[in-house]
Symmetry: C2
Subunit: 209 residues, 2 copies
Amino acid sequence: MSLVRVHNFSISLDGFGTGEPQSLEAPFGHAGERLHRWMFATRFWGEGGSSGVDDALAQRHSVGIGAEIMGANKFGPPGWQDDPDWTGWWGPEPPFHTPTYVLTHRPRPPLEMEGGTTFHFLDTTPAEAVETARAAAGDLDVRLGGGASVIRDFVAAGLVDHLHLVLVPIVLGRGSRVWDGLEALEDEFDVEAVSSPSGVTHLTFTRRK
Amino acid sequence: MSLVRVHNFSISLDGFGTGEPQSLEAPFGHAGERLHRWMFATRFWGEGGSSGVDDALAQRHSVGIGAEIMGANKFGPPGWQDDPDWTGWWGPEPPFHTPTYVLTHRPRPPLEMEGGTTFHFLDTTPAEAVETARAAAGDLDVRLGGGASVIRDFVAAGLVDHLHLVLVPIVLGRGSRVWDGLEALEDEFDVEAVSSPSGVTHLTFTRRK
């Protein structure tokens, strides 16, 4: 069966995947771009970037994925459901290139974008969302895009097979924390930690067979 | 001036320096020995141990230290203040070998142990405790021994120069968290992360001049 994978999900030392408050002007709140600078510096992100361990792990994001699931907070700033013209942060050609399932209690009709991304809006459980995304992905895997609370919920429900977190050496102090409710996660996953010369540490959780 | 240093302070991925509940039978609560296995496997801890990066960093614990400060929760289980015969966890010869200041709201007379450790009990502020310990340490440094809330308080008060945390790949979910209240710690410290083949990641915070 195809896997459910999380890639490149950056967190602060204290476990926050985003700062606060989140808004149109500050999608990651007071975290700004600090959680993602390591990725902006890789070839994965753009020409001239690094091609070391940060890049090798970042590139996995795009390999073998047939669908994405994301939470409402990843698709737009608080209140996007009230704006019928909101089509996500990513402009006319979002970087997903697959069916992409947005979890929201206020679904709307599908939104077909350029480059193969179609946003579908689902008001459903994590398990049902995975079932729907798997059917669309065929033989390929499903990427779980975040944010922190979505990752937490799907991991707690036993739905995630591969979890790649990137520990960034900052302390945010507040925001949305990925660890809450995941006591004893190491019982279900093999955990690998590797620090990069860029300063981040990659944590890779692989579900045990 | 001599430095205030924290060494070998182990935390879970979610930042807990101890589990709960702490007791005479379970000094680290539900964490058990899991936070410290990396250290037990080093030559620092005993003959036949490893002598790689875990050991090199662990050995720093004992070099150039003239006094220790610890919190009441490190000295004994909850309620030790009610037991006049309690002399700490460490038997007749504790591993400190210097004056050791125990912060407690219920001080008692000094306790001279074998091997150079004398416990002094102080009901005072972090800044005053550092001043007292520095005076005793002479030219040597002061070690801050923990627990998590003591480290947090001393770091927040700007009293710590060197902070060595060891990130252990377990998720405890509850206990005493070292990060709370330390937002933007990276503004005051250079941070280095290095993962060890043992699975832990050493985080070293060095105060900027």
